[in-house]
Amino acid sequence: MRKALHFGDAGTQHGADGRLRHLLSMEGLRDREILHILDTAESFLEIGQRVIKKTPTLRGRTIVNLFFENSTRTRSTFELAAKRLSADVLNIAVSTSSQSKGESLLDTVDNLRAMHVDGFVIRHPEAGAAHQVARHVGGEALVINAGDGQHAHPTQALLDVFTIRHYRGPMENLVVAIVGDVLHSRVARSQIYALSILGCPEIRVIGPRTLVPAELSALGVHVYHDLDAGLQGADVVCALRLQRERMEAHRLPSLDEYHRRFGLTSQRLEKAAPGALVLHPGPINRGVEIASELADGPQSVILAQVTHGLAVRMAVLTLLAGALGGEEE
C-alpha cells in the first residue's frame, strides 16, 4: 500500500545522513521515526500543564508560518508550538488570488530565506507545494507540510495516532474506521499511512461511492458504503469534515441526506465497540458529519486532539530543528 499511494519525492524528507530533515508526508517514514515523534510529544504534553509553558529549546531560531489557505487550529497551534519552544515566529497569510503558481511560491520563500529563517510551516492549496519548497531549500531550513491540496496533512495524522495511542495504546490490535469524504481528504490519506505504518491491522473507510476512491480496497483498506456495517466493532472512529463545496460539485444530494446516511450520532455509534473513541480534525459541521450530542459527549476526544496537536507540533519542530546544520552540503 505504501508504494501504491506514493506521491512525489518522499525521499526529500530525509537528509543524506538518514535523519529526518523535513516533514512532508507520512509515506516514507519508518515506524520508529513516528514513534520517536509520539514519545517526544508525550514530554511536551507535560510542559503544557506547567505554570510556565516554555522551554529554551529553539531560542534564537525563526520559524515562518506560510499559509496560502485559511486555517485557525493548525496555524495557531504551530504558532504556539514554536513560541513555547522560544523560537521567533513570523505569520504570513497569503491570499491565493494574488498568487499565480509555483514560481511565486518560491519567490516568497527566497525572500524569507534572505532573512535567514530556520523553518517553514507551509499550507498550500496545491499538492506537492511543501515538497517543492523542501527541495528548494535543502538542508538550509526545515520544512513542515501543514496541508497541501488533497495530498497530505502529516501533523494532523500524527496528532490523531498520538490521541489513539494515548487512550487505547498501540495500534496493533485496533479497528479504526474513517468516515466521510475520503476522496478529497488529505487528513484521511495521512491517517491511512500513519495507521498502516504503525501496524493497525484493520483500517476501514466509510462514505458514499462518490467520495470514497475505489482503489483503496485494492490497497488493503476495507471500504464500506454503509455506515452501520462499517462501524461494526470499530475501536476508533475518525470523522472527516464534509466540505460544502463538494455539494456544489453534485457529488452529494443534500446535507440532510448526507447526515441521514453517514452522519455520526450516539445511536449509530452503538454499532461500534463499547466506548469507541470519536475523533474529528475540526472544524466540525454540527449536524452534518457529526451530531452535537456525540461531538460534545464522553466518547469524543476532539478537544484533546487540539491539546495533543500542540505537543506533537512542538515535537516535530524540535526534532527537525535538531537535525538542522548537522550536515553540510
Binding site: H36, D39, T40, E42, S43, L45, E46, I47, R50, V51, I52, K54, T55, P56, T57, G60, L85, T318, L319, A321, G322, A323, L324, G325, G326
Partner: protein, 170 residues
Amino acid sequence: MSTKPGWDVEPLLDAMMRSLAPWCQEAETGMIGIYTGGAWIARRLHAAMGLDLPLGEVDISFYRDDFSHIGLHPQVRASHIPFDVDGRQIILVDDVCYTGRTVRAAMNEIFDYGRPARIILAVLVDRGGRELPIQPDVAALRLTPVPGEAIKLTGPEPLCLELRQVEGRP
C-alpha cells in the same frame, strides 16, 4: 573499551544520606532526580530517607545548551515534578557532576515550574572539570579521572559505578 573494577555504591548512598540529613530537617523538602542516573540515585535516597513529598524527576533534553549542535537526545522522557516548587527547599540529585552544564539546565527547568527557596545539589561523584561556577553541596566520592577515562553509572538494579576507558573525549 576496558572497565576497571567498580565501586560499591551502597556505602556511597549511605554517605550521601548522612550528609543530606541536616538539610532534610526542614519540613516539606522536595527532591528531584535528573534522568537517568540521577533519578536512580534519587529513588534510592528518597525511599530510604522518608521525605514527605513525592519524588520529582526531570529530563533536561529540551534545556540542554548544546541542542543546536547535537540535536535532541534520542530518548526523551516527560519531566514530572508532583509538588509545588514555589518557596520550597529542593534537593537536586545527579549521579556525576562534571562540567556543571547538566545542573544548570536542570535548574533552568525547575525554575519553569516555580521559584524554589533554595536548591541543594547532591551527587554521587564529583569528578571535577567544571566549566560553570556550580559546586555540589554533597558529594559521596571525589575522583579525578585522567583524559580518556569516563565515569559510568549503570542501573537501576543493581547500581554499579565504573571507571571506563573511552576513546576521544571522556
